[in-house]
Symmetry: C2
Subunit: 232 residues, 2 copies
Amino acid sequence: MSSVQVPRFRHEALGVTLQVRPNTLCSRLCVLAWRRPRDPFLGRWALPGGPVEAGETIEQCVRREVDTRLDLAVMAHMEQLATYSDPGRDPMQRTIGTAYLGLVPADVDACLPDEAAWLPVDALPAMAFDHAAMVADGVARMRAKLSYTNVAFALAPAEFTIATLRDLYSAALGYEVEATNLQRVLTRRGQLVATGERQRSGRTGGRPAAVYRFATRTLEVTDPFATLRPHG
Amino acid sequence: MSSVQVPRFRHEALGVTLQVRPNTLCSRLCVLAWRRPRDPFLGRWALPGGPVEAGETIEQCVRREVDTRLDLAVMAHMEQLATYSDPGRDPMQRTIGTAYLGLVPADVDACLPDEAAWLPVDALPAMAFDHAAMVADGVARMRAKLSYTNVAFALAPAEFTIATLRDLYSAALGYEVEATNLQRVLTRRGQLVATGERQRSGRTGGRPAAVYRFATRTLEVTDPFATLRPHG
DNA sequence: ACAAAAGTGTTTGCCGTACACCCATGG
DNA sequence: CCATGGGTGTACGGCAAACACTTTTGT
């Protein structure tokens, strides 16, 4: 009973790590990347990642690569995105790659090595391999989930005001969101809990804002889109 | 410049192939499986699939495995589900597996080899490896997409009556759906097109049913669940 | 008193459900 | 003419968007 030889592949794990980061005036949704120190694509921006080791899952590999190599151990949410298997996606050697989406709260300011940076996703430079497609997939997934789950907990600080949350949603979604309706929708879905505290008003006056927390900080589907529900 | 040796993996592609099939009285949602002819899990039910070859994508591999090995070349829709990488998922050798969801129209009756069969997903027998989880993921994905896309085109015959479609949705979703509202929802979303033809009424009488087609037979999101939409 | 920012009330419109009612055919 | 199944009309409830209006602060 001889078993036929089957091909074996280099398998890499990539992290699409997103964070809403302050900018001049407004905030922007950014993705963690670093400059490649070698060919192929020397000097091009690439996602952090690396080859899967023998005894680990792909998710463990992503965590290891993103956490250690970039001094960042604060992923509030992580989920698998997709696996990319085009034979030509790595010009040097056949490599299958699995991308994970990771979200980092806005108040985390990890110190990055020199070769790493946060790139704004709406003005992304040319990227190595098929990493631009992975970023696009990750952003699309996050945006969709902002609509029907509580993922925003992974982008927000532990405590926040509605105005802060409004800016966060606007940056993450890519268009302006109204604070009024945002509060109403999230309240109706039971996502928001008032801490009872109030934030001091700024130098220009104005009513002090109430401080909120997310009710739960693990992923939940708050608005199941099931049209055609079971009746009765 | 010595490159460190990285581990290489056997990579397999699995197909979660779903079809709504007639049964005594009602229809049932079924998944294509076959009995394993060897260890591990000899005799257990398993999903069709096999090792990815050197020059092909994972999707090409699934199509090849499902189409040729099971005499079935009529997948109306296919999409990637997820990649499973637990080191112990294959007790014999480390294998990473990527599952694809495939949908077959209800009027297709492919002839299966003896060792293959359609298993009802709501009474699934014990399965080999982590294939039961893959089936669960595939069914969940399909059910979600029935709500906000036109995937039903991939489960339905080219032409059908509303009553037929109602049975199809009921079997696929796992609960009863009302024909009245189904028609209204799909019509409002522009998915249904009347062919103008009518079906002869049965032996018990009754008004003859109008015959419909799906407007498009490629996947489209017909009900984007974006709450917090761009305003203006 | 006035400006600024936060938060609530109210209106409007859409969508999905439920259910009553009308339509067309076989017997 | 009646039973059977197909299809439409209509009312209700929930949700989200828009916007006016009140509340609470700093200057």
